[in-house]
């Protein structure tokens, strides 16, 4: 809270606290590199920030779920970052079938218990799911459709239209253009995830998925990472070989580093190239009841297929108050859709029309539908895939800010891993840390106070960096600054050669 000069030397400087960037930061700290992590926002909310508004900011960033056997869950467990988080299971997956919301039968038990599939369908479904769970070992079953679409493949398997709908839209959750192999891979991922933490394939972090960034930040800090919010880099420093060798912070401090990893919005625009296309339409509602009320407080996932454009489904995630995202007895509903339009309200209208009560509450069949108590629409560009341009300095890397239209977060892990391994190819990525309970101090006689404390600690100085010189002498700074690349102002974008 009070300003304190940062140390002047780090191995890695990271800008932005999105999930990929925080995972990467934790990985570097974990192996002992010196990490400085800055964020221009007061992401976790300052002491005077309104709590609800803070939460909205978090929602805006992401509202995705995780496959129980997906990369992110494996990483949370292996790195032990999971100890900072709590999760809720996505307790049901719904699908819209003939204008009615139906629970998707996904496990063996579900299939048998389901009232919406016939006996013959049950056998067909079981057989198909069994094959999909082990499809790589049965290439003969799908060889003919290897180059075709998953949709056509399902048809060829003689699945009824009902079952085709379930498998494609509710289990694999892929669009019509998806290839057979991708569809099978997605189906298998769903099936593998099922049963790990109960009868569900997905988990959702309590307080929302923004919590994961905080957990990885804590891991990084515990391993010596230095964190600073409301601070960013205004300049990137270059050495004679056009490699990045440091930054100047918004508070004017010069900091040297070996690598800079930054989210795209922190880098000069000519450094970054966006590979992912299009935009994402989003909406957040607070409602008074569930889209499909049940006796339990369900956490619901629905892959909503729109009538006008089937290739762009809407992911609907309905979170009950027990997941700590909203007050008691209310629900938060997130809508996400890949988009080309700048009008999210129009783009998501169909979901609202078919699942929720209209604002004026006119027709009677809408009586029982959820009423929207609060709503918010927005459009964001899909920056989930980015790369550096030729113009960028060496040793600067970009990390994606996340927020693609997909339902899960698994994409973040390989990206963070790649960033880490491009700097440290031979090091392990987030190995399991030692158990803190291994250091135990047993005090068996309550009154025993040992005199003669260790001299090491008598200084009361908790930060070894404090004792260092606060910086090189000023002439050197000026000299270095002349080599800077101005980042924010266009005017001085050229590097001044020495």
């Amino acid at each position: 809270m009070s300003y304190e000069e940062l140390p002047n030397e780090f191995d890695i400087v990271l800008l932005g606290t999105g999930l990929v960037t925080t995972i990467t930061a934790a990985a570097f700290s974990r192996i002992g590199l010196k990490v400085l992590h800055l964020d221009r926002n007061d992401f976790y909310g300052g002491p005077f920030a309104n709590f609800n508004l803070e939460a909205i900011e978090t929602w805006k960033k992401r509202n995705q779920v995780m496959y129980c056997c997906g990369d992110i869950i494996e990483l949370l467990i292996k790195s032990d970052v999971a100890r900072y988080c709590e999760f809720r299971t996505v307790s049901r997956v719904l699908t819209l079938l003939k204008d009615k919301l139906e629970p998707v039968p996904c496990s063996r038990a579900d299939v048998f218990a389901s009232k919406i599939v016939s006996l013959i369908e049950k056998r067909l479904m079981m057989k198909f799911l069994q094959f999909a769970a082990d499809f790589e070992n049965h290439p003969e079953e799908y060889e003919d459709h290897k180059n075709g679409t998953f949709k056509d493949f399902l048809k060829s398997k003689k699945l009824t239209p009902n079952l085709q709908h379930f498998v494609q839209h509710a289990i694999a959750m892929v669009d019509d253009s998806c290839s057979t192999e991708d569809g099978l891979t997605k189906t298998k991922k769903f099936l593998t995830s099922l049963g790990r933490y109960g009868n569900t394939a997905f988990l959702f972090p309590l307080y929302g998925s923004g919590e994961l960034s905080q957990a990885f930040s804590r891991m990084s800090a515990v391993f010596g990472g230095v964190y600073c919010l409301m601070e960013t880099a205004t300049h990137i420093l270059a050495d004679n070989e056009a490699n990045c060798c440091g930054i100047i912070t918004s508070k004017g401090q010069k900091i040297s580093c070996k690598y800079l990893i930054a989210e795209s919005s922190y880098l000069p625009s000519n450094y970054v190239q966006r590979l992912s296309q299009g935009k994402i339409s989003r909406a957040i509602f607070i409602t008074d009841t569930s889209i499909e009320p049940s006796s339990d407080e369900d956490l619901t996932l629905l892959n909503f297929i729109c009538k006008e454009d089937q290739s762009r489904p809407v992911t609907v995630l309905e979170i009950p108050s027990s997941a700590c995202v909203c007050p008691r007895n209310l629900y938060v509903v997130y809508l996400t859709r890949k988009s080309d339009s700048d009008d999210p309200k129009e783009d998501l209208r169909e979901v609202q029309d078919r699942l929720l009560a209209s604002i004026d509450g006119a027709s009677s069949d809408e009586e029982s539908r959820p009423h929207i108590l609060w709503s918010m629409y927005f459009t964001m560009e899909d920056w989930s895939e980015v790369s550096m341009t030729e113009e960028a300095l060496g040793r600067v890397m970009v990390s994606s800010e996340g927020g693609d239209a997909g339902i899960d977060l698994d994409k973040c892990v390989p990206e963070a891993k790649q960033l880490f391994h491009s700097v440290c190819p031979d090091e392990e990525f987030l190995p399991t840390p030692p158990n803190p309970e291994d250091i135990i101090h047993v005090d068996d006689t309550e009154s025993a106070v040992v005199s003669g404390a260790a001299g090491d600690f008598e200084q009361g100085n908790e930060d070894p960096e404090d004792s260092q010189q606060t910086g090189p002498d000023s002439s050197e700074v000026v000299n270095e600054e002349s080599k800077c690349e101005e980042k924010d102002s266009e005017a001085s974008n050229d590097k001044v050669e020495q």
Binding site: P47, T192, V222, P436, V450, E462, D463
Partner: protein
């Protein structure tokens, strides 16, 4: 023999003496070989409370995140008590202790919704010449912002460390007794949150066997 686990967090501005306090407290009451190890979330100390009860005390230190304007909820989560520390020789750290307290109260409460018990520690009381905060000022702030109480400490001279912690532990034990009945009725009523761990029946990573 019962065992009670308490998580105590320590917050406050940089360089007021938080880490030293933790080291001194854990160190003094055992051997002289304790070092705050990098990569460890908290220092653990087991205290024999009575013939029938051991207390496992987790002391969470703030690590490199103290430069955040506020802490993450991840750090505050499930805390039973809190120490807010400031430096008597730096007035700004005294003023900021209110912000730290508010940050905590905004992000974390006890199970029953009451605020986390908070003790205000005025460190570096040995340095009388550079002192910038009076006892009256501390007393007023303490009352106005609902601290449990306050104490001057000197981590350097080992003053009031055991006593402050002892006071806090008694408070936690009292609250613990009060909450015990509450927690039983509470836990049966809410859908349980899931903790992921290595031995939760999860398959080992890398295993691809379908369910």
């Amino acid at each position: 023999m019962t065992e009670v686990l308490f998580k105590v967090i320590i917050i406050g501005d940089p360089t007021v003496g938080k880490t030293s306090f933790v080291q001194k407290y854990v160190n003094d009451s055992f051997r002289g070989d304790y070092k705050m190890t990098i990569g460890v979330d908290f220092a653990l100390k087991v205290i024999k409370w009575s013939e029938k009860c051991n207390i496992k005390l987790q002391l969470w230190d703030i690590a490199g995140q103290e430069r955040f304007t506020s802490m993450t909820r991840v750090y505050y989560k499930d805390a039973h008590a809190c120490l807010v520390m400031f430096d008597l020789t730096q007035k700004s750290t005294f003023q900021n202790s209110v912000k730290w307290k508010k940050d905590l109260d905004q992000k974390c409460t006890l199970m029953d919704g009451s605020p986390v018990p908070c003790l205000l520690l005025a460190n570096k009381c040995d340095d009388i010449e550079r002192r910038e905060v009076t006892q009256d000022e501390i007393e007023d702030l303490c009352k106005e912002h609902d601290f449990l109480g306050w104490s001057e400490t000197s981590v350097k001279d080992g003053l009031m460390i055991e006593e402050s912690m002892g006071f806090l532990i008694e408070e936690m034990m009292a609250k613990h007794a009060e909450l015990e009945g509450f927690s039983e009725s509470f836990q049966t009523n809410t859908s349980s949150a899931l903790k992921l761990g290595k031995d939760d029946g999860a398959k080992p990573s890398g295993s691809n066997c379908p369910c």
